[in-house]
Symmetry: T
Subunit: 148 residues, 12 copies
Amino acid sequence: MARLLVIHGPNINLLGKREREVYGDTGFEALNDAIARRAADRGLALTIRQSNHEGELVDIIQGAAGAADVIVINAGAFTHTSVAIRDALAAVDIPFVEIHMSNVYKREEFRHHSYLSALASGIVVGFGTDGYLLAVDGAAMLAARRGE
Amino acid sequence: MARLLVIHGPNINLLGKREREVYGDTGFEALNDAIARRAADRGLALTIRQSNHEGELVDIIQGAAGAADVIVINAGAFTHTSVAIRDALAAVDIPFVEIHMSNVYKREEFRHHSYLSALASGIVVGFGTDGYLLAVDGAAMLAARRGE
Amino acid sequence: MARLLVIHGPNINLLGKREREVYGDTGFEALNDAIARRAADRGLALTIRQSNHEGELVDIIQGAAGAADVIVINAGAFTHTSVAIRDALAAVDIPFVEIHMSNVYKREEFRHHSYLSALASGIVVGFGTDGYLLAVDGAAMLAARRGE
Amino acid sequence: MARLLVIHGPNINLLGKREREVYGDTGFEALNDAIARRAADRGLALTIRQSNHEGELVDIIQGAAGAADVIVINAGAFTHTSVAIRDALAAVDIPFVEIHMSNVYKREEFRHHSYLSALASGIVVGFGTDGYLLAVDGAAMLAARRGE
Amino acid sequence: MARLLVIHGPNINLLGKREREVYGDTGFEALNDAIARRAADRGLALTIRQSNHEGELVDIIQGAAGAADVIVINAGAFTHTSVAIRDALAAVDIPFVEIHMSNVYKREEFRHHSYLSALASGIVVGFGTDGYLLAVDGAAMLAARRGE
Amino acid sequence: MARLLVIHGPNINLLGKREREVYGDTGFEALNDAIARRAADRGLALTIRQSNHEGELVDIIQGAAGAADVIVINAGAFTHTSVAIRDALAAVDIPFVEIHMSNVYKREEFRHHSYLSALASGIVVGFGTDGYLLAVDGAAMLAARRGE
Amino acid sequence: MARLLVIHGPNINLLGKREREVYGDTGFEALNDAIARRAADRGLALTIRQSNHEGELVDIIQGAAGAADVIVINAGAFTHTSVAIRDALAAVDIPFVEIHMSNVYKREEFRHHSYLSALASGIVVGFGTDGYLLAVDGAAMLAARRGE
Amino acid sequence: MARLLVIHGPNINLLGKREREVYGDTGFEALNDAIARRAADRGLALTIRQSNHEGELVDIIQGAAGAADVIVINAGAFTHTSVAIRDALAAVDIPFVEIHMSNVYKREEFRHHSYLSALASGIVVGFGTDGYLLAVDGAAMLAARRGE
Amino acid sequence: MARLLVIHGPNINLLGKREREVYGDTGFEALNDAIARRAADRGLALTIRQSNHEGELVDIIQGAAGAADVIVINAGAFTHTSVAIRDALAAVDIPFVEIHMSNVYKREEFRHHSYLSALASGIVVGFGTDGYLLAVDGAAMLAARRGE
Amino acid sequence: MARLLVIHGPNINLLGKREREVYGDTGFEALNDAIARRAADRGLALTIRQSNHEGELVDIIQGAAGAADVIVINAGAFTHTSVAIRDALAAVDIPFVEIHMSNVYKREEFRHHSYLSALASGIVVGFGTDGYLLAVDGAAMLAARRGE
Amino acid sequence: MARLLVIHGPNINLLGKREREVYGDTGFEALNDAIARRAADRGLALTIRQSNHEGELVDIIQGAAGAADVIVINAGAFTHTSVAIRDALAAVDIPFVEIHMSNVYKREEFRHHSYLSALASGIVVGFGTDGYLLAVDGAAMLAARRGE
Amino acid sequence: MARLLVIHGPNINLLGKREREVYGDTGFEALNDAIARRAADRGLALTIRQSNHEGELVDIIQGAAGAADVIVINAGAFTHTSVAIRDALAAVDIPFVEIHMSNVYKREEFRHHSYLSALASGIVVGFGTDGYLLAVDGAAMLAARRGE
């Protein structure tokens, strides 16, 4: 059974409480429940982590070495500023899906660049919280391909 | 029954014949068959179009007004150069999913910018031909939300 | 009697059907009728062409050599991306008026640059569909000056 | 009867005396006479002002509040450097036509940017002194639309 | 009684110990005492926090939701690099004053850009430690306006 | 008794008459009255000047040599375009506070740069008309420090 | 016998009719005759195609797969704007020579960049119509090397 | 007898009173006296003008048409910001020498660009107040060449 | 006996486990042992710290005030993104050597800029893990110079 | 009999000894022999020069005045950095062919710009050592045209 | 008696033989004679050197240490490309005048930047060969000031 | 016994005579003596060369092929401008250490870029003349690794 690690970056824990016109009404708990159901449907063993701390996210990714087969990551604001997270993902060398709920290309210029994209196996942008379901599906595909 | 229009841009008809290290071994026919199966699974009425001509793609998109509920588009090279396709998508105002099989962020700098992204409801990048399946799923979600 | 060729670029055929907050309510037919009346008032023999295809627009411009004395062109999206249309206009060497209905300077940054402007005898921007009437008048002035 | 204010910026008073290869042979007086005839033809009450002083132009625009219904402005060199004139036009909120006699896109790079364009209702570039006649016509159209 | 949260970013705890030619001689304790006196004078209930950790600052801002009516923040170095702090401030939607003791425009180019400024209700730059007093006063004004 | 010179740049005389969504409802007279009361409270002898003319503002600043101990300046649009005003401030070498009522970082890109900031003793941005009161307070602090 | 495909892009069909100061007096027919003689001299089986349509050029290049051993292409204006033609050349993987009659480096800045050059086996710029003869010779060399 | 017009721009009237480490100790009167002596030595009829107003400088230059044979201009801060002064110099078409006392290339980046240089017959930078003497000599040479 | 603090930034703890083609086969423990031997050889009292947390690295540097005479720092990814670490180093004012094992100039563009370099006493790039030995030697030289 | 001067810039003397994957296996002697045969075939009197010294190359070009009718130059690295060689070629005003063996557009960004191209009569890029033969042929064409 | 070293850079030895529309008709010998007469008039002991070799120019400047009191240098093309000459001038620390005969600001963009200007005591641009006379005069002034 | 070639670029021969605040007091002779001692200590056979001529440095590097096992190079000003030296180092393919005595990142912007760094095996910046000792040590390490 393939192991999936879902990582949420800074401020995503506020989902449903902040900027609803951007992120929609689904709360963080509800989102994680939906992710859990989808992972179960896809036959994936799931772990979910969230942190507002760049260093902690690096620790989590480092800890995934040997413990996860595929990663889904929404690095939030760190997407645009963190070389450390990029390096951690490169170091552990686990295939990962980058996900953003909002369409970053409709927002500020500085959100158009991601330090992670060049290393990602797949990227899902927009679709709101539904994007996570697609990302989990994509991760399942990646895990399956690996397993072949 | 929601209607899905899948649009393939220039050179995608060569799939499986060209640059396999970039695009994989699946042929264009096989890809379209897979898309058709997925659309059927999701209860979507499917039309598929391909063209190497920017103007024809504009014509196809204009023709979708009143004839499609959601679009999946891989504009290929025109992604990076065509304001005309962007304008056509804006004009018909049908929600669309932008899809790229290769991870454009691993490739030349000029492929990192898309004229379509700012208008897309969702974007799927990487995942190879599997990305189309995720895009069809995403399109189904968009159609469902619209239908609500 | 001077001969005027009016060229509409991509998506302008949707006028009145798309983005009315940008382009107003006048339809494409009505616009062309108004242009025809104005050209008649100014004593100009009129031909109107529209295409969504860059290559076809190049063909049209090439065909104008010896067949038109002045051109009014709204190249739409190709304004910002087409060196080929610029080259065709340079090749036939017919004085032309560049026209845009919307104020492109209120819109996306990439609409602020035109490949055509440096070759134009005159440019009319904004004014909505009325701008075409001014452009026809300007074209009549150019034809008159040439005729002197 | 709608009131039109025509504003000439720096060095336009030298018209006909300077750089004739750029601006043509018509003198400043003759230009203003032609403008006056056109305004009369269009049923507009006309005021014409010229100044080489940015501050004076700001004063003139401020003074137009309640005294003019539409403005035609050739801000000359200040087009490219004056945020103060832009702010004055924004402040009085009178619809205006921006006009340039020469085709600025054939000239130095720094003349390709205008601080005024993003606020203009319409823009007329090139056409030499004839451009003013088109601008007056355009202003008449704007005044008419306002009057509706 | 309005609640004010003052947040000090990285290295500000060294005040009075480092680079005195830039930041002056007042120590961190003394600064906080002065802030406390000013807040008391302005009838504000005060909390002061400092951290060198971006993630902790995000946590602090998140924690302010429902617990503070106005924020004064000197994000120090994170001003120029942290999208996460910007997003946290946007998420909790509490009016805030951005403050810098040194005149950042006299310093390195990279200190001229702030990720926070576009969201701030007010900004105070320069004035040394006195700037905090002005920022507290400004915060009091913001709280008063809110309270109306 | 320290002498304060408050300088208003172009279009600020229209306060309360223009763009109220940006600048609020307070009129120019009312603002100056409020400034006068604050200056009196702070024990400062006050002079207020306004001009739409860059050259006149330069004259005013030159005239402040020996006649003012501290300056509060809102150079308006000239903030972004005038090296001459910068040079005048550098020449007379009087400490000054730069003030903007609106948050320039929420507005057009060209308003994000100030020619004055690098020379200012303090800067106050946003806060609407209240910002002037903070600026006067800041000026009083500067005068006091000088007087020590 | 190696097969050579010569492709002319937009407006090259006007050769000898347009901008003679840039392109010389040789007509398009005469050029093709000269190319044919040279190809015959070099023992190459020749096909010549011209189109003003980007999409048609893509079609022509796709059609060359298995039908041509080497390509000489003057993509004209599309040199500077077409990623689609670049992708088509990459897809068919036939060695090609890029040719320009005029010295593009003496012309507008936007003509200094070519989307094709990075994929070309050889590039010939300047030399007027004679450049085609050198390009045919170069193509013969490439075909010979391949044939070894 | 050739007529020389020397124009001083903004803040140059403060010479000797401001920033002595940049501009030296010579006062404005003394400088003008030295210029007068040099002009007399070179057989030039001299007029000297100074203004802090861009518009007035434009007026002065316009007034030089037919009244001066050569100009020496230190446009001060307007060197870097005034297209209007550039246009005035172009309009009157009198040969001119651009002069700066300080070495602008040792100062802020924005002082490295001059709107006037491309039109100047000669440029003298640095040398302090002595530069004016060289500029007068250069003007005499220009006048002599013209007179030939 | 001079005190040396060696600081390792994010992901360096994975040395020998990640990207061996970039960083070589030496493990993190082995590296630290080698550093310890070299420090002993050079007569330096050694402390080694590693963290993936930017804030913790700031804390460590702040803690070095009065506790270390010289620092060797490999800030890893934070080299390119952390103004906070730069500010901490500036604040404690301890001479430091910046070290990178890989040649950052052979890698992505964003690794070519370091926020630390402008403050470093010396920089060692490339040489793999051997670079640390040179850095320790360099630190010993710095400490010796200080001690003179 | 027309006289041809072939100039090789820095490091080209190492041909066949260095970077064979870029430049091929032909040695420098062999290349010059091939050039000599081609020149003889084309009826050109040949001189070949090589230098690693920019100044010497300038001397060689200056010496060509009156001694050569056409030049073929591969300036090697100086192509991208030498204005002096450009100026020398402009000064002697001899038509020249610029040649590069490797396809510079496949290499580092800084090799995409040439100081010589804007002055060249023709440019040949890629083709390896064969490119020299095309360049000699092109030179013969230029000499023939001149001789007409 | 002050010692003046005049240095001519690459291609200046061709003066009067090349590009006369840019540099005029005076030959190199005649120029040096004129310089010699002027230096004599100003009581300066003169040495003149010319080289097309950057390294030789560095040698010449190094050799000026202790042998010249002031330098006049026209570094020609090296002005825009040579950091080595800049460093040599900085190293010997002799005041120097930078001179250009043509107005570099009317020429290619790359001639607008000089590596030498920021170190020069004075700069003379334009004036043709007469500029050298002004430069010698300027050098005499510098020598005189030094001698005081 | 490994052979070390140390190369000094332009102006380094002036060490101890120029800009002592930047480069320290050690003279060029003394530096070379120190290098010689260090090389001897490390068991390296040493050759030292210096030149102010770029071409000569290229010759020296070319001459090192087969004659040196490792290079230490301080290319001085040519670091920032010489592609020729870069190409020579690439051509001979000898591992080299790049060294700069001053911290180039504290100096002018144009000194922050090196054409050599991307090819270097190691880089040492800052440390003054001591940096050479570290560079020699680093070279010894490189030679040792090669020898394994």
